[in-house]
Amino acid sequence: MTKLILSTGNIVSGGPSIIRKPGAYRSNLELTNSLRSNFLAAQEEAQQQHQQLHGDDIADNNNVNNNDTSNGHGVHIDDDDTDANGTRGRPPASAWTAEEDGVLYVPRIDWSMAGLQEEPAQYDITAKLFFLPTDAPVSDRARYAREALDLVLKELRVPAVDLLIVSFPGMSFDGDCEWEADKINSRQGNDEDEIATWHAAIEGLYDAGLAKRIGLAEFGSEKLARFLKRVRVRPKVNQINLKNCCNVPPPLAQLAKEQGIELLVHSDCTDILPKGTLRELLGQGLGGAGILADTETGKGGLQGDLTPQWVVKYTAVVRDRGVIENKGYFAGAGLDGA
């Protein structure tokens, strides 16, 4: 079993992946687009370093072959330019990823560049942890949570986050009418798993002072009421995704008010990184990063079954200026050896 940690770096000034596309769940696209562009950037950098070390024959080659100037940047790859690793012109994975203690970082993370510009107290830092649908036992989630939060704290160089929101698989807040959404929601997810996760994985982070407030996402009124009865540390926040955001189901609004729970808006997709999407991102196909072996030939990279386990989205907003200084994602995935 090998573990993969994918990262986007700071996407906030990183270009178009931040733009909302009408009609789509944003976070889903934002995550995949920004992972893809971070992989490309890392590969490009590796290629440049390679060229500097080994002469610029590849660059010459590209200049000759790429009269098409529609794309002034990005990685130019000649399909027939196959190198020793068979990765069709991509730099070898080892050039832009890093393996440490059985974990493969895609791309490699330069921690010396981590941190925020000002004192941690100046920021409002939010992390949202998505537990993805896996076959793994719920007991693994404590480990996922710890891994995810540790990466965020390390990336931002802060001792704690101000708010940690937890998103469970299989939940949604959909429906033409939000009343209906509230009803449907009541039967979604798995109460027992969620409460067990909260006890084992989240309350501890709160107790340890690593998350100053903890919250949920996508809990309708009935589910939330059941949840509140059984947890020791109560959520302070419930994030909901309302298509027409002006119709909060009245029972939920009521409950939140009574219980002092803040209702925040989000536009994330619960299943933020489906298995197929991850395979495409890392695969040998067009736009893939070339980390995984070709499914047909079994060549060119890591073999085995890759399962996304969790995603954490983090944002650091300068408190009294409303400026987002850092926003990014980490994703954790497990690889079952072939």
């Binding site: 700071n10 906030v12 990183g14 270009g15 931040i18 971070n38 939010t126 009294d320 200026r321």
Partner: protein, 700 residues
């Protein structure tokens, strides 16, 4: 309007002799504050809005509406009574509901600040303390604007109303349009249309008007093209111009061609400076961020001017333009014939292409994305002042900016201020700075350095309701946060911003015109390693340099306001105009994201509670639909109101009766808004305000 110190104001010939002294003391004061404040850091995001009102006298049974000249009395009443919550000021929430908690909040607000304005029929109100960036606080803006209006109304006579039309439709028309009435052709303005008493009587204001006229050597010429309707005589000769006045030398102006055919002719500062606008001032975290905001907001100026267009009537006639900007520009244009290029330079130092009131001529950031090609190659500056600033430690770009502002003479000088230079004040600096009315203003901290570097966004026209005014104010605040968070790049050559400013004047420019706008707001290449960009908090100078640069002309293209505000995809889908097909030609890789989608992306990335997000959404929706044409601009609505009025004879004349009914509608809208029960009663066929839903949709 700046500082209202009392003293002996110099007439122009005397003031002119002291101009150099004031400039040189002003520069020393600027350097003093520069050295004191250039290192200021981490100032909070604070901001303020300024709302300006006309005070009208209206009663249902009186066929005339008039401008009230009781500004001084009203301000005195406001100064003497700072109680909030008198009868009539019904507390309301943005959603139209009332509640106790909100009522007490409202009572605990700091008292708004009311200011005099140039026009004696005007009033300006600002919040009692600056706003922050907490999103919930953004929702307090609208109730606070309503509170201000309500308090103002409470200190007026029962038949006086503060209304937010940009201009009074019949200002300067023959007959009576003020209360009390004064005859025209006074010694200060020498206007044949408005009396001297139209201006605030504080010595600063008549002196300002008189010295502008005197420096210029003739009266100001504010000529607006008349709207040609089917029955408008053509060529059209302004029937209100009197060619037979012989009281002042300036009465010759019209005989010398000051009033050309097909233009509404106006001849006094009051026609421009008597306009109401909506201005927003932002405090930056430091000097660098202030300069970045100044530059990045600058190209947005003409877009927001077109979008807030609200000025289709002058002096009783429909104009062929929709906004106030050029009229103000001409109303304070103090350039001499030599400076204007009408005569060879003999006494004056240079030709000056723009009025003191005009679109920006400089970019001031040291941002590496600012290409030299964006700057005005013919910028007029005072080289010796620039050298003085450079010697004082200021960088080249900012020194250039101030050396450009300081090509102007101070207009109003008080002899008491010339006794000695006080470096603990900024009065001489402000004298020049605050009479450079560009569409952005870069404001150094005050002499005591108690607040930060600020940027003022000045082009927007005032809207009829506080809902709309709050919507535009909040939108601009959010745009600044988006610019800083995403490190957006709006640069286009500054000459193109000038061009856009002219374009914004066209009738219904929002739907019928296109504007130069930058295609790609983002850096061309992403930072190579994700974490490494953690070090590049948007600070302008920290921005990555542009990767291989192509021709500047390829960086921007023509876009509709709809495309700029809503993005290419929305413009393709929802354009209300025949120009729709134009957008369909935009290739996918040249699609523009749109300012509102960018604001939404920003809001998606921060924690906002459900109620706040919904309220912000109504603001964004208003702006979205104004830009797309789904809703009308104020100018279009007023134009339509006039066009459909039974008293309108399709001859461009806006009669007293039409004016009264228009003002009545506006007063009615204001009363309805003040009640806080929404605009429901104003809508629909048989509704009390014609076509109100075309202006407002179903908002509120």
């Amino acid at each position: 309007m700046g500082l209202l110190a009392l003293g002996t104001a110099l007439d122009w010939p005397e003031a002119k002799k002291q101009a150099h002294l004031v400039r040189s003391w002003g520069i020393r004061q600027l350097l003093e504050i520069w050295n004191k404040a250039k290192g200021k850091e981490r100032d909070a995001m604070l901001w303020g809005d300024e709302v300006e009102y006309l005070v009208v006298i209206y009663s249902k049974d009186d066929p005339k509406v008039l401008l009230s000249l009781r500004q001084a009395d009203i301000l005195e009443a406001l100064a003497n009574d700072k109680t909030i919550g008198k009868e009539g000021c019904t507390p309301t929430l943005p959603d139209g509901s009332n509640d106790e908690a909100h009522y007490s909040y409202r009572l605990n607000q700091p008292f708004p600040v009311f200011h005099p304005e140039f026009g004696r029929f005007m009033l300006e109100a600002t919040p009692g303390k600056p706003w922050g960036i907490d999103f919930k606080e953004l929702l307090k803006v609208e109730p606070n604007m309503k509170l201000r209006r309500c308090i103002a109304k409470d200190h007026m006579l029962p038949n006086e109303y503060p209304i937010t039309l940009t201009t009074f439709p019949r200002l300067g028309s023959p007959g009576v349009f003020t209360e009390p009435f004064y005859p025209v052709s006074g010694p200060k303005l020498r206007s044949q249309f408005v009396p001297d008493e139209i201006a605030n009587p504080h010595i600063r204001f008549p002196t300002l008007a008189a010295n502008i006229r005197s420096r210029r050597g003739r009266k100001v010429q504010v000529n607006v093209p008349v709207y040609r309707d089917v029955e408008t005589p053509w060529p059209w000769k302004d029937p209100t111009v009197n060619y037979d006045l012989h009281q002042w030398p300036e009465d010759d102006d019209v005989r010398n061609g000051a009033a050309p055919d097909n233009f509404i002719h106006m001849d006094a500062m009051a026609f421009g400076m008597g306009s109401c606008c909506l201005q927003i001032t932002f405090q930056a975290k430091n000097l660098t961020e202030g300069r970045q905001m100044y530059d990045q907001l600058s190209p947005l100026g003409p877009i927001l001017l077109a979008l807030t267009a609200a000025t289709p009537i002058y002096k009783g006639f429909l104009a062929d333009t929709d906004v106030r900007w050029n009229q103000i520009s001409r109303a304070v244009d103090d350039r001499t014939p030599e400076e204007l290029g009408e005569k060879p330079l003999q006494n004056d130092r240079w030709r000056i292409p723009k009025s003191r009131y005009a679109s920006n001529s400089t970019y001031i950031s040291e941002d590496r994305r600012l290409r030299p090609e964006y700057l005005d190659p013919d910028l007029v500056i005072d080289e010796s002042i620039k050298q003085q600033l450079l010697d004082g430690g200021m960088d080249d770009r900012l020194a250039t900016h101030f050396a450009h502002l300081f090509i102007r003479d101070p207009i109003v000088i008080f002899s008491e201020d010339l006794k000695e230079l006080d470096l603990n004040k900024t009065d001489h600096f402000e004298n020049i700075q605050s009479t450079n009315w560009q569409h952005m203003r870069f404001k150094p901290p005050p002499a005591d350095n108690s607040i930060g570097w600020r940027v003022e966004f000045r082009p927007m026209e005032i809207q009829i309701t506080d809902f709309e005014n709050a919507a535009f104010a909040v939108f601009m605040v959010l745009i600044t946060r988006v610019i800083l968070s995403f490190d957006l790049n709006f640069y286009i050559p500054i000459g193109k911003v000038d061009e856009n400013m002219e374009t914004a004047h066209a009738r219904d420019a929002v739907l019928t015109r296109k504007f130069h706008f930058r295609r790609n707001l983002f850096p061309a290449v992403r930072a190579s390693r994700g974490s490494s960009s953690g070090s590049s908090t948007p600070t302008g100078t920290a921005s990555r340099p542009p990767s291989p640069v192509g021709p500047v002309e390829d960086e921007y293209r023509l876009m509709s306001v709809n495309e700029i505000i809503n993005g290419t995809a929305y413009a393709k889908a929802f354009s209300q105009q025949q120009r729709q097909e134009d957008n369909n030609h935009v290739p996918e890789d040249d699609e523009f994201p749109g300012l509102i989608p960018l604001v939404e992306s920003y809001l998606d990335s921060v924690n906002v509670d459900v109620v706040t997000r919904c309220e912000l959404e109504t603001y964004l929706d208003l702006i979205r639909k104004r830009a797309s044409g789904e809703l009308w601009t104020t100018a279009k609505w007023i134009r339509h109101f006039v066009g459909c009025h039974p008293d309108y004879k399709k001859d461009s004349v806006v009669s007293e009766r039409i004016t009264k009914d228009l003002v009545e509608a506006v007063v009615r809208i204001g009363q309805c808004e003040a009640k806080g029960k929404g605009f429901g009663e104003l809508y629909g066929p048989g509704g009390e305000v014609p076509d109100f839903e075309r202006l407002m949709g179903r908002h509120r």
